[in-house]
Amino acid sequence: MRVTFPHMGNLFIPVKGMLQYLGVDVVVPPPSSKRTLTIGAKYGPEFACLPLKLNLGNFIEASEKGADTIIMAGGCGPCRFGYYAQIEHAILEDLGYDMKLIVLEPPQEYLSELLAKIKELSGNSSWWHIFQSIRFGYQKAKAVDKVEKAAFWARPRELTPGSTEKAYVRSLEMLDRSVSQITLAEAKRNADELMSAVAVDSKKEVVKIGLIGEIYTVLDPFSNQYLERKLGHLGVEVDRSIYLSEWVNEHIFMGLVKGIRSRKEACEAAQPYLRHFVGGHGQESVGNAVNYSRAGYDGIIQVFPFTCMPEIVAESILPKMRDDYGTPVMTMIMDEHTGEAGTLTRLEAFVDLLARKKEIKEASCE
């Protein structure tokens, strides 16, 4: 059994770590690329959202590398994601790929089934060993988040252009390579050192933007055209409404780890505007926009795949939030046709606007 799974930004680092710790033979799909997207768009349903197409491309490319089993998350709606695995599997079958599908459905509904599948996947390891490997994966996810946050801070302030990027890539490589608790601890230390060694102008005034929206396009740089990196180079400090470890905690541990941001806070903040959950992260998007506005961010960017239903609801409601708080919001919609130059132009214009607004505000305060 050679197991593969879809890409979502740096998700592969903790997932690969966890599965290898369990002793599973893992095939990480090649990083999402234009080819991945072309394959996915060719075989996926025309109006399916972008993540489905990228998943499909990932699976086909992984199968070329020898994978024969797919692990995929499930869901119980109303967002389309809950039916992804079945559709993708049917398409792969039609194309003649003989791959086994293991869908991990949310534990609220199918706990015993989920546990049985995990046991099967692990080749009947003891529960203690399984617990240890999940913990190992989670620690990696947290380490990855720490590196990302450091990069968000350093990018707009770096003295040598590109130095943050170099340290960021090197740090992730080190985390990815660690295979045991001991090597992971060492990799974490080295990554910390590398990230803090980036020469920065810490007194520089920077524009701050909060990134909200659909989870996949927020977490996956390929699908959002490397928004965070582009913004960083434009001198913007970015914060993301959700990080990997938070997502893992919410969706896999059911919020068991306390003391980190949870979706509950966001949903409470959304109450005046959106009173009911709408699937996906629609309600969280509205709530996080409110939270970023309250925290004094200069602007908000909402990003989601074309035709994403929950985020369209959020998009319809965000103008009201913007009227109340005065924080500019820009919506960027991603699909397989997006050209990079257009994205960059829009980002530049938005950042210029925010910088000007900030200057005027500060001048009037003095």
């Binding site: 399916a48 959202c49 709606g77 039916y83 599997h89 959106l274 996906g280 035709t307 409601i317």
Partner: protein, 324 residues
């Protein structure tokens, strides 16, 4: 008091229920005008670009009720079947509409049968309390409303379209004989608010009929058959309307009298992108002629007509060549 109901979205399913309910409680029900260019234009102006055509239309219908109604009935339909939803946009609809300016008060009640069918009455009670505090009156109105609704669904399962069933209930037409099965039968699948809204669908049902076809829709199939056939999927769909379409499609694919299948989707519709794909896959493997029609606000009528005509020609030739 005048209660406004937008002639859009789930109006096509649940109008008889709410009309009887409100009238029993002494309110007057006002419908928005029939879908038309002006209504769509108002919707386009006020909704974000990304929402689908039927939701844009809904915005227009709500705005059409301004000045006509004292209150607008806008329930949040979260779920109408156990463990199923409608679509995320229905979950956020009241919040989206509330962003419009100068609206009369809205009657916003959550209808959520996701966990339990009994939750329906508690929602109904909340609505009834606007008119009366007498629980017996509300209960009586609710029973009458459910009866009217049952009759409506039954008429549709006998082969009537929603507009015909409504006309019959309201006593506007003579009882018509049911369509005979000798002609060319076309299964027309799509969200009810798309296929039954003559403006959105460009009157596809009557056009098909004028070209000599008998149209069968998902609403003509009983809930039991739908559930049985939909259970063939490897995993149950969590959209009620999608389930109905899939179940009806599988049912019609096995009916020898059905000579062609048409799937109508709104541009950018999330559930349609998945259910449409599934139906297409099964239709292809069964060999039945299949047409996928995607509609948006820009669709030219002539283009759609040409496609329908070509499709029916193909079905006819095939029938002539292979017999029925």
């Amino acid at each position: 008091m005048k209660i406004g109901i937008p002639r859009s979205l789930l109006y096509y399913y649940y109008y008889p229920l709410w009309r009887v309910f409100f009238e029993e409680l002494g309110a007057e029900v006002v419908l928005s005008s029939h879908s038309a260019k002006g209504i769509l234009a108002a919707g386009l102006k006020n909704a974000v670009d990304e929402v689908c055509l039927p939701v844009k239309m809904f915005y227009g219908h709500v705005l059409d009720l301004v000045g006509k109604a004292d209150m607008i009935f806008l329930p949040r339909i979260v779920s109408v079947e156990k463990r199923e939803y409608i679509c995320p946009k229905f979950l956020g609809l009241p919040d989206m509409i509330r962003c419009l300016k100068n609206l009369p008060p809205l009657i916003e009640v959550d209808i959520n049968l996701y966990k339990n069918n009994k939750d329906f009455y508690s929602a109904v009670k909340n609505i009834g309390n606007i008119f009366t505090k007498n629980h017996l009156d509300i209960w009586g109105a609710c029973l009458k409303a459910l009866k009217a609704q049952k009759k409506y669904f039954k008429l549709m399962q006998m082969g009537l379209m929603p507009s015909e069933a409504l006309a019959l209930i309201e006593g506007r037409v003579e009882d018509k004989s049911l369509p005979d099965g000798e002609k060319m039968n076309i299964a027309l699948l799509g969200h009810p608010y798309n296929i039954y809204d003559p403006y959105i669908s460009m009157d596809i049902i009557n056009r098909f009929r004028a070209m000599g076809a008998v149209v069968a829709t998902a609403e003509h199939v009983s809930g039991k058959i739908v559930r049985n056939y939909a259970a063939r999927l490897p995993k149950k769909l969590f959209w009620s309307l999608g389930n109905r379409m899939i179940g009806a499609a599988f049912h019609y694919l096995e009916q020898p009298g059905i000579s062609g299948m048409v799937h109508v989707a709104a541009f950018g519709c999330g559930p349609d992108s998945m259910t449409g794909g599934i139906i297409e896959r099964y239709a292809h493997s069964s060999g039945i002629p299949f047409l996928n029609l995607t509609l948006d606000e820009h669709t030219g009528e002539a283009g759609v007509m040409t496609r329908l005509e070509a499709f029916l020609d193909m079905v006819r030739w095939r029938k002539a060549a292979f017999g029925s």
